[in-house]
Symmetry: C3
Subunit: 478 residues, 3 copies
């Protein structure tokens, strides 16, 4: 017999009745407050084209590596989740079959945030009233397919329904940002969609396509990127182009947080060697770190907030990467060291009024040991939200308990959904607000904050705090 | 005045009345469900011989390094706990005196799982109704001694009373497994006792007895273990012998998780050098890591599940090791790195249907950072339970909160008691079930799972999940 | 409209009503029990001179780097917090202006222990009934100023009011300890104030002033400190002088926990080289570690308890250090390794009856992985309280949950306030007692301890346990 699906109004709130009551009141304070999404991976052409989503699996499963990775771990090969092997060696399942795989393995998601998001999307967004299972798969698939055919399920309608005030995308420095321009110029679209400058592949000579990227950058900017000075000029030009299209931040995910600068002549020499394919591994690494410092220096000049989230081993399973490409569920976090590594940037720009840096990590041991102490001294440093593997009720709670002692709330940066899954945006912000309301309610219940203060803090966490940390435009400023 | 000792039916359950009620109902679902113990250190001859236990101290204190270590830290020298110095330099106390030492230091165990286990054993198993103290030591000693004299306190009777369905022991690869054979052939013994292949000392040329172990292996298998190919053949032969006696897994505790394979000729060369005593430290280390890869390769062939728990500094206090031998309470955990270290095995066998690996750690910082992300992608990887220092209500809770977000429940491996203390088996499984019921009850109370789902999950955690992860035989399959 | 300020009697206690009731009863057990403060940074001349405190800002803000660092992070330059730039480049604000800065940024402290301490001090000590804010700043400043003028707010009166039985200061080995002598000889002062031997700057040849410190040491002791043997003799002499003035411990904060001893001739050779300015970095580092071992050896002889808290990157922001000196809020914790590093000391002195060591850390990942296992075996090792960044309700809870499983309560060392802010002493001990009462109440509520045992444990945590760990004199022993 199929089980009903329904969202409980008190979901994720603390169990104790008196604390829950406080959390519920706090949550009401941010009910309907618009979503600021300063860091994510939604494709802006989605909103430009505004075409209807093809089917439930293509919308909710195939592009979401949170979902596909756990199904893969539970024995479902990636082609049965809609991924296409580049060598055509394995047939890709139909969307309906993909959907059935998810429903048949529904128990694998018990206790995970992916389940929380999917339930939210199914129940709240699509009005599904049944829990997924092998027996209900087709009925739910048909139900959601029907809805997707309706006009109110097109991307722009959903953008409005979700209450998104601002959405930042993540973009290649060579992107012409045509979609951002079209959205800004389109008077029928009232949201704000801004790009984010993500230069990783240009800054690391060890990347296999580095020289090709430099050539693209040269073509885009008319700068001689084979020359170090020309390369810097090209990056500056693209930063400026991003700023002109509303960008307020850059995004960096190097393997480590090193940023020791080189002197100009050494940098120029290694740049030449790397272009010529003769740079050693050590030189390429030193150059990558040097370029992170350069990015900080440019941020101090142009005011783009620097987002940094180092320490991920990308594409851990080489056979999968070869067949299905990057971002297929096997990027694995590693330990990160921030204190010694970031000294060059912080020594030079840590108190610079133009410089602002948001530090993210997947290494929770750094929350209380390194990140909070840094953000508790340097005016330039903000603590990024727990994200990716840590974007969960339990991890958000651990984050708040670990860092609030040292930095309070106003040195944190607010929630980032970091998602490719457009429909999960409201689910994730809902989760974050519930988690923060729960934490604040605990502080009220233990008489550490008044309820007034807690309410003000929660309001700030969803609006003023991300606005400040990411230098987002004022609501009226569009 | 002596204090009463009694086990509260709600022990370890959450304090909130509504959550506790849910936890209590969940717990009832696994009441009486047989114990699967896929990883432990009980001596199988205990069950073959079925002799009565000599006295309370020899049963509950002397062999339990959890108990002796904390008493030692609190100032009780090891001979006063029944340990014998190899040089005869210190007289060993009588069992009654050993028992008195425990009781006199009872407060040292407040809040520890050792106390939880001992209380369970005293109250539940032996019917002791008084808290241990200097004043009650003799009375309890006499009471337990009386019980031990009765037939129903012999090992086989207890095995049955504990409801153990399957018990895995840990065995030297050269063991003839005679006890396992005798138990299997004994129709009056209805439990299942299987061996586990633990080859550590054969794989590390840096071990002081490595060459002696190789000679024993040669004698056992008729293979020329001084020759690399012969050595591999010998290991394969013993794995096969273990499988024939019901083994489903191997067990590995190297100093680190490295497993970079060497090419055959290099491996053969280092093997020869090590046999000749001329291998360098670096070569011996490379060879050890190579052999871990070989064990994975053999597991992919023969299907023995590979248990891996690296990162323990063994016998930290050399004077104690010299006098009292290994496993005397000063093996201390160190940091472990899994992501880079395990790449060779996972790249090659991470999606291999024959390969299965259970990863354990004492470095909790790896739970959310490394282990859950690995088990959340690779079908071959299961997350081992928090064990040893982490085999506690609080650590189990931290484990569940840290990993469930990323892997749910079905990539974890179920509880392992890992004990040498036979009578603590039911106490430990009782604790584990209560801890998991508490965690699940929290999920129900915060409306993340229905109570039906939580109940099904708890049932799976004690049966299907360890059966799958460790490839244990079906209940009827004996 | 200004908000009222009042301390709730149940602050910091668990929210669940039944657990809170238990915690409240436990707390009552230590109501009025005198404060033992075995580790801190109060200047003893404060109590010798007994002069009134100049103003609220100089008392509560400027010297408290917990407070100034977070205000600095929130954009307030240090001179506006009363700190004076050594080059006179920035005017220092008046105390009233400093006070206004704190009040205007009051929300920055929401959820932090600094706020908890400040609220306690304002409400409990000074009878302030308004929450700080831009609007109430002057009124509160005037109110506190008035109180500070009264005799009962002088240091000695407060010392008595706070119920401090014993206060340990932290002192330079060359200090003549004149203040300690005067306090001991002053019959009108009934407290106990003892020095602590803190030799860091003498033990590290890499310190910029090392040779100057050696010269001061020579002048103080009449030993030839340019000679290794003379240097050791000088240190022994000063330790003896400290012991004669009541010292019971030494305090060490090296960059890492290394303590590998050198042979005497190597140590003598490096000492000479360092005095001559020709020691290499590696030699200086080896010498520093060797000297930590020597300190342990002297502790085993003279019985001074060795406090060790390695792993802090000092003065991270060089421009701030240059202008405002050390201890200005940018000492940042780094990872620490204890297991391998401490082997030399523990192998030699870990079971030595004369030796006692209290291990502190800011790297929480070591609590369950390294520190508890070490303290759970070695009789010489005690676990220091979570301190500095971890001296908070949440971190104390994490500490107890992480270590109690392995070591119970009686291998921990009790609370240390480690403060320069005299008036925060009772606030901090109040917080610690509430946190421990809460933890113990949870154990009682989950039926792991009886309430009697929990009460006895809490009493021991504030008296017997620190007295034992730090070898403090008996109350009557003064």
């Amino acid at each position: 017999m199929p089980k009903p699906l329904a969202l409980h109004p008190d979901r994720l709130l603390p169990a104790d009745p008196s604390v829950r009551t406080i959390a519920r009141r706090l949550l009401a304070e941010v009910d309907g407050v618009p979503i600021l999404s300063p860091h994510g991976h939604v494709d802006p052409s989605l909103l430009v084209d505004d075409e209807r989503f093809p089917d439930p699996a293509t919308l909710l499963i195939t592009p979401d590596h949170y979902v596909t990775r756990l199904l893969h771990a539970n024995g479902v090969p990636l082609p049965r989740l809609g991924l296409t092997a580049t060598d055509g060696s394995m047939p890709t399942s139909s969307p309906r079959e993909v959907w059935r795989s998810l429903c048949a393995h529904w128990r694998a998601f018990r206790g995970t945030p992916s389940r929380y998001w999917l339930e939210y999307e199914l129940a709240e967004l699509f009005g599904v009233a049944l829990q997924p299972s092998a027996g209900t798969a087709d009925e739910i698939y048909d139900h959601v397919s029907d809805r997707l055919a309706a006009a109110e399920y097109r991307p722009r309608a959903l953008f409005k329904r979700f209450g998104i005030e601002l959405l930042a995308t993540t973009d290649d420095p060579c992107s012409p940002l045509a979609e951002h321009r079209r959205l800004a110029e389109d008077e029928t679209f009232t949201g704000t969609v801004i790009p984010t400058f993500r230069p990783d592949v240009y800054l690391d000579p060890q990347g296999s396509q580095w020289r090709a990227h430099l050539r693209r950058l040269a073509a885009t900017t008319d700068c001689d990127t084979e020359n170090y000075a020309g390369f810097l000029a090209a990056l500056r030009a693209r930063r400026e182009a991003f700023r002109a299209r509303g960008a307020t931040s850059t995004d960096h995910s190097p393997p480590d947080a090193g940023c020791e600068p080189l002197d100009d002549s050494t940098a120029a020499r290694i740049h030449r060697a790397a272009v010529g394919g003769t740079a050693t591994t050590a030189e390429a690494c030193a150059y990558r770190r040097h370029m992170l410092f350069q990015m900080a220096a440019m941020s101090a000049e142009d005011g783009l907030v620097m987002q940094l989230h180092p320490g991920v081993y990308r594409s851990h399973h080489e056979p999968t990467a070869r067949l299905f490409g990057p971002d297929t569920g096997h990027d694995i976090p590693v330990t990160v060291e921030f204190v010694r590594a970031l000294r060059p940037i912080l020594d030079r720009f840590g108190t610079h009024p133009g410089f602002r840096m948001v530090l993210f990590t997947l290494d929770e041991s750094t929350f209380s040991r390194e990140l909070a102490p840094l953000a508790g001294f340097y005016p330039a440093v903000y603590l990024g939200a727990p994200w990716w593997f840590l974007d969960t009720p339990a991890a958000i709670s651990r984050f708040r308990y670990a860092v609030t002692d040292t930095v309070g709330f106003y040195r944190t940066a607010g929630f980032v959904d970091d998602t490719r899954a457009f429909c999960s945006i409201p689910a994730r912000h809902d989760m974050s607000r519930r988690a923060d309301a729960s934490f604040l309610a605990e502080l009220v219940a233990s008489h550490r904050l008044t309820e007034d203060e807690a309410a003000a803090t929660l309001r700030d966490l969803v609006s003023e705090i991300p606005r400040t940390a990411f230098r987002l435009p004022k609501p009226a400023g569009r």
